[in-house]
């Protein structure tokens, strides 16, 4: 019997791939949790699209400054070596390809790397786009953290996105509650998703059934084992 990863465990797994010295933007929700789980030997600069390069921990009591927030509007601190710019300069940094990585949430990722994460077509509510399109189009690498399937059981890793796209052909890697999957954009594995890691107790057939697009398994496909983590 398999046990899907928790939000924290998915964020933990994504954090293990953060490179030492990297400049990284973490999207709202699960992605921003990844900062809590980066290995201690990695020196990382977190970018917030409202202008912070070097976001530190959330501000504790006595540290709060309402004029210093991150992209989730949370009051934060700064790390050593941080700097602050205005929004135009901050997005110049994103669009100019200066961020090594962005980790975003997702509604759907397609087998060609298309990402849909901004418009879930909710009735009676206006659209909210924020910086997702700029991050998806601008960062050198785009990773996504999302549950493998929607709450109604439908696939979120799909042959073609049904939700409006955020950016075409940009996603390299997806962290789900069931697996770590790469997008085979170059077609080396015949196209589609390639599972790199799969949670204990889940069969390859079960993962394939939960995936709405072609799925291959890497020759060295490993077990995805995450530590127990308290709720963040």
């Amino acid at each position: 019997m398999s046990k899907p990863l928790s939000r924290e465990q998915m964020a933990w797994r994504a954090a293990q791939d953060l490179a030492d010295g990297a400049y990284v933007n973490l999207g709202l929700g699960m992605p921003v949790l990844a900062a809590n789980y980066a290995p201690a030997d990695r020196d990382i600069f977190y970018h917030a699209e409202n202008g912070v390069l070097g976001v530190g921990p959330v501000a504790g009591p006595g540290q709060e400054d309402p004029e210093l927030v991150d992209a989730g509007s949370q009051m934060v601190t700064l790390r050593d070596g941080a700097s602050i710019v205005d929004s135009a300069a901050s997005f110049a940094m994103i669009r100019g390809g200066h961020l090594d990585l962005t980790i975003l949430g997702g509604f759907q990722v397609a087998a060609n790397g298309d990402l849909a994460n901004w418009d879930a077509l909710v009735p009676n509510k206006g659209p909210l786009i924020g910086g997702a399109m700029d991050l998806a189009a601008g960062a050198r690498a785009v990773h996504v953290i999302m549950r493998h399937t929607a709450s109604d059981g439908s696939a979120r890793l799909v042959a073609e996105c049904s939700y409006p796209l955020t950016a075409p052909g940009v996603v390299k890697r997806v962290y789900t509650d069931l697996a770590v999957l790469d997008v085979d954009i170059d077609g080396e594995a015949g196209g589609g998703f390639v599972a790199r890691e799969i949670i204990p107790g889940l069969s390859r057939g079960e993962l394939t059934a939960a995936t709405g697009a072609a799925l291959a398994f890497a020759p060295d496909c490993k077990l995805l084992e995450a530590p127990d983590l308290p709720e963040a």
């Binding site: 400054d65 309402p66 602050i84 929004s87 901050s90 997005f91 669009r95 924020g130 700029d134």
Partner: protein, 224 residues
């Protein structure tokens, strides 16, 4: 002698009329000029166009803006209220009383920057291949499809800074600059509420926004 300080809120907002386009700074609660926003709402103008990152911040700050139907059009990156129920402005949109243009945040910032920098239009890869690019002029550069975007300018910009001198030079605190720095340059009339107006000029190398972009300064404590 150059002195851009005005005495009160009324003087700060003098001359703004119905039909004006107004840029409003702020990301989260940082850099939102709440004193100026309350003052603008109280003027009871109509047919305003608001240009701002997230419309809900204005709604949170002063709901009378939308209750009274002062707004005609919004250019924004987020036309969505909190929660599941539609907010007042979402209802007005569905009733055809308010229209909006939705823009990716980086394109939004760059269009404002272009407005202040005399660049009438530019190409960007952001939004290419998405529904936002449908029907838009697109073009490939270096093998990548880009969308043509035009500059945003406005009649008025409202922003908040930590410090100013009488020349209008500004220092921002924390992430207070966000859209305000570019908005000041893109608007005909930039009005700034500041926590402190310094007696002496700010040090030249520490000025975040040169006074040339600021027309009026108004001292006001932060209001949440």
């Amino acid at each position: 002698m150059i002195n851009k300080c005005v005495d009160d809120l009324a003087a700060a907002l003098a001359g703004i009329s119905s039909g004006a386009s107004v840029m409003i700074s702020g990301f989260g609660n940082a850099g939102i000029p709440t004193n100026l926003l309350h003052g603008l709402s109280a003027l009871g103008l109509s047919r305003l166009t608001l240009i701002l990152n997230a419309i809900r911040r204005v709604n949170d700050c002063d709901p009378t803006f939308f209750a009274e139907g002062q707004i005609e059009h919004v250019i924004t990156t987020a036309f969505r209220g909190p929660g599941q129920e539609p907010a007042a402005f979402e209802t007005q949109w569905q009733d055809g009383k308010v229209s909006f243009e939705i823009v990716p945040q980086g394109t939004f910032a760059e269009r404002i920057r272009a407005g202040g920098a005399g660049i009438p239009a530019f190409y960007t890869p952001t939004a290419a291949g998405t529904p936002l690019a449908e029907g838009r002029e697109q073009r490939d550069f270096n093998g990548r499809t880009c969308v043509l975007e035009t500059a945003l300018t406005a009649d008025v910009a409202l922003l908040r800074a930590q410090k100013a001198d009488r020349y209008g030079n500004l220092c921002f605190r924390g992430t207070q600059a966000n859209f305000g720095a570019a908005m000041a340059a893109a608007a005909e009339l930039a009005i700034v509420e500041v926590e402190e107006i310094t007696e002496h000029a700010l040090p030249p190398e520490q000025v975040h926004l040169p006074g040339i972009y600021v027309q009026r300064l108004f001292q006001a404590a932060r209001k949440d």
